[in-house]
């Protein structure tokens, strides 16, 4: 390719933690900037929101009417769109409101002047509005995920969507299982690896930040959580902690044809 690949980083409703995974890359970020031309990355001070780019990294969920329009523009301006983080991939923690029976009443309870709040009823994943080419799951994502997807794209290969279970990485790293030895409600058996089993390394049960792994048997794990003494409500809370939107979870395993995530670059 003669010209440099162009890149934009767009933010929607989010905490900016995933953009920090980019900014925290240190010298790797400098190397990235040498290989691609960064057209828009507000948090790093580069502004050209409507630039046409080869690759767009999108953080955050869609929660306002303005977001809804802006994501269409981002899609139209980008050849390859990658969502990053829980908010962009599943609606994020703010999708808790999708579970509320009366979301209006929440606004009234939280804000002294709720009339200033102008938001949609739901917090939605980017893929609910536009086609997504690749997803980086995690809350937040980490720098290695970015390096992997960017270097794979620059090498001209389809990025590998690793949906491996966290338990596998946990065992590779030699951690002692928190569920087995401490009766801790670890989400590892249904959660996608990506963090390198960070919580189990410190003797804590996985929270499920990286979303569903392939073939997640939720009901099977729920049975074990019941056995640990968790009440049905607590089990549900455990499963909806980071990705509360019910649409964010894959169907229970064991099905003969596993549904692949929409927008997954696996063709």
């Amino acid at each position: 390719m003669d010209r440099k690949v162009t890149l934009a980083v767009h933010k929607f409703s989010s905490c900016d933690g995933c953009q920090l995974a980019l900014l925290n890359m240190g010298t790797t970020l400098v190397e990235l900037a040498e290989r691609v031309e960064v057209k828009h990355f507000a948090e790093a001070g580069v502004l050209e929101e409507d630039a046409q780019v080869d690759v767009a990294l999108v953080e955050g969920s869609v929660v306002t009417a303005a977001d809804e329009q802006r994501i269409q523009r981002v899609r139209n301006n980008s050849k390859y769109l990658i969502t990053m983080g829980a908010c962009a991939t599943s609606g994020g923690i703010q999708a808790l409101k999708n579970l509320a029976e009366d979301p209006e009443s929440w606004t009234a309870q939280i804000y002294p002047q709720p009339e200033f709040i102008d938001s949609l009823e739901r917090s939605s994943a980017i893929k609910a509005y536009v086609e997504v080419d690749f997803e980086l799951w995690g809350c937040p994502i980490n720098s290695q995920q970015i390096t992997a997807v960017v270097t794979q794209l620059l090498s001209g290969v389809v990025p590998w969507d690793d949906r491996e279970k966290l338990c596998i990485e946990c065992k590779r790293r030699g951690h002692v299982c928190t569920l087995i030895t401490q009766d801790a409600p670890c989400m590892g058996p249904v959660t996608r690896n990506g963090c390198g089993a960070l919580c189990p390394a410190f003797g804590r049960a996985c929270y499920g930040c990286y979303g569903d792994a392939s073939l997640p048997n939720h009901s099977g794990l729920a049975v074990r959580f019941n056995g640990l003494g968790l009440l049905p409500k607590q089990v549900e809370q455990r499963f909806t902690l980071i990705h509360p939107d019910p649409d964010a979870r894959l169907p229970i395993g064991n099905s003969d044809k596993q549904r692949h995530r929409e927008g997954q670059a696996d063709e």
Binding site: M25, T28, E31, L32, E34, R35, T147, A148, V150, T151, Q152, L154, S155, W160, D162, R163, E164, K165, C167, I168, K171, R172, R173, G174, H175, V176, C177, L179, I180, T181, Q182, C186, G188, P189, V190, G203, S214, L215, N217, S219, G220, L221, V223, R224, G227, G253, N254, S255, D256, K257, Q258
Partner: protein, 368 residues
Amino acid sequence: MEQQIPSFLLRNDLSVLLDLLVADGYQLHGPQVRDGAITYASISSLSDLPVGYQDQQKPGHYQLAEDHNKRFFHWANGPQALKPLLYPAREVLWQAKRNASGSIQFIVPVQSFEKIAVIGVKACDIAALKLQDQHFLQGEYVDPGYQARREGLLLVAVNCSYAASTCFCVSTGDGPSVESGFDIALTELDEGFLVAAGSEKGERFLTRLPLQNATAQQLDAATQQHETVAAMQTRRLEPIAVGQLNDAREHPQWQDIAERCLACGNCTMVCPTCFCHHQNDELVMKGDESQHIREWDSCFGESHGQLAGFQVRDTIKARYQQWMIHKLDSWQEQYGRSGCTGCGRCMSWCPAEIDFVAEANIIGGADE
């Protein structure tokens, strides 16, 4: 080597053996309590060993309790033993670098392999090691990393004096006492150890230990102990003929297991004979350097059954069948024996509390 009558070593003189090993350039590896389990890692003295601890295990459960005994090795196996030492979970096989001229250079990383002495290896793990040797060393291709690490290994085995409820090595013919494949074997008694050499290498150390002749009572106590542990094992894997499980793929029990199994892969990760891996290339951001990585993989994972563009095993049932049928059935054709040495780990470390032995006995028809 001929089987010799064991000699006796006083309890605290085990430290003399450790000192001799260190003087000979060995790093010591042994059992210790870490994060609520007995795991093998680097040790420096006898005080690192799990004296006075004992495990309680059943499918999906592992608990350590303090025990009044003063023994070093009065426990059954924890999550791992030799596998991570010889076959690391993640290893760089080679690196590639692109030079300024555009040519690509391939580099095999230089690794220094240490001499490691492992203290307190159990019979099931020695049996598993023989299978790993067969796989990595005795096939058409030899794995150079495994070979170098294996050559530097010295094994101080210990005959079991305790069995967890998950142990069933008696029914696989692999324990509870070691018969071969070690350098030194210990039988722990209350006041000390019966010691025997299993190799020339081991013999060289024994000649320098303050050994006494074993008394008839000590030899009796050792025999007694062997029989007690064997009798403690209530779990039994019934014999499985080649093809027996493979021919039972329509058995309804598979679907029953698939409802419970989480396809988390823990069983395969802790199994001392599992050797599956995948290989990936990791690029640096500059794009001029990559590492070719080999990592443990599992037949429960997605990449294991992913061929060019399609998934061979897309259900939990198909993945569980792959695990059990390969381990207990087709392994026999491949390696001349079953791939299970009765260690029980795949049950203790299973988050879904699946009882591998009971399931195999049901599908094999032994429970009907």
